[in-house]
């Protein structure tokens, strides 16, 4: 089981701030493929992953990052702090 978190417009598009999923994916990209296949709102949110950033266990990561032993994956648009 992995906790998935969504922020900003990704959260709004999917309609959830977080959820716990059972996944067979071995990488973040594999997890994105599984999510996309679920429902239109997921397909829409993940339509263009170049517009998204991902954090694995609260560290910025790439979409090819492995999911082995990972507890938390977060998807969000590029950050706008400061």
């Amino acid at each position: 089981m992995i906790d998935i978190l969504y922020f900003a417009w990704v959260r709004e598009r999917i309609g959830l701030p977080r959820e716990r999923v059972d996944t067979e994916a071995t990488t973040v990209a594999g997890l994105v493929d599984e999510l996309r296949a679920r429902e239109d709102r997921y397909a829409l949110a993940f339509a263009d992953i170049s517009a998204l950033r991902v954090a694995v266990d609260q560290e910025l990561a790439d979409f090819d990052a492995p999911l082995v032993g990972v507890r938390e994956v977060a998807f969000f648009p590029p950050m706008t702090g400061g």
């Binding site: 922020f7 900003a8 954090a55 609260q58 910025l60 590029p78 950050m79 706008t80 702090g81 400061g82």
Partner: protein, 145 residues
């Protein structure tokens, strides 16, 4: 000494500066404050963040700055939640032996906070709300460090 605060409450930049400067051996203190800019018909700004990761990411950026410019102290305060136009969003303070290091470290902190700290700004207007898009220039700013 590194201080990181992520909070909804307002802060008093003057009081923070005085507390930050007390008992310093360093000769130079630089502070930067960011306020909610009035972007036309804006009523407020809503700032979302990633609790847990935010504190970790800011602490890592501050530690980098402290090591790189041999800072005696660093402070980062960043607010989240709903903020009115003109309200303070965040501030950084750096204390170094000389001013060049204090200025550079403050700029480094600002550049990294902008695109590596997990905050997302949304402008709330009279006719609706819109997420602020990150600029390519913000990402490019990191290459100079």
């Amino acid at each position: 000494m590194i201080g990181v605060r992520v909070q909804t409450e307002a802060f008093d930049a003057g009081a923070e500066l005085n507390a930050f400067s007390e008992g310093l051996q360093a000769g130079a203190v630089v502070t930067f404050s960011g306020l909610v800019r009035d972007a036309g018909s804006m009523i407020a700004m809503e700032i979302e963040h990633y609790p847990g990761m935010t504190e970790r990411a800011i602490a890592a950026i501050a530690e980098d700055a402290a090591a790189r410019w041999s800072l005696e102290r660093v402070l980062v305060i960043h607010r989240h939640g709903r903020l009115q136009v003109g309200a303070p969003i965040m501030m950084v303070a750096t204390a170094a032996r000389h001013r060049a290091a204090a200025f550079q470290a403050a700029e480094f902190l600002m550049d990294y906070l902008k695109s590596r700290a997990p905050f997302w700004k949304k402008e709330i207007g009279a006719d609706g709300a819109e997420w602020v898009a990150a600029k390519a220039s913000d990402e490019d700013a990191l290459t100079r460090w």
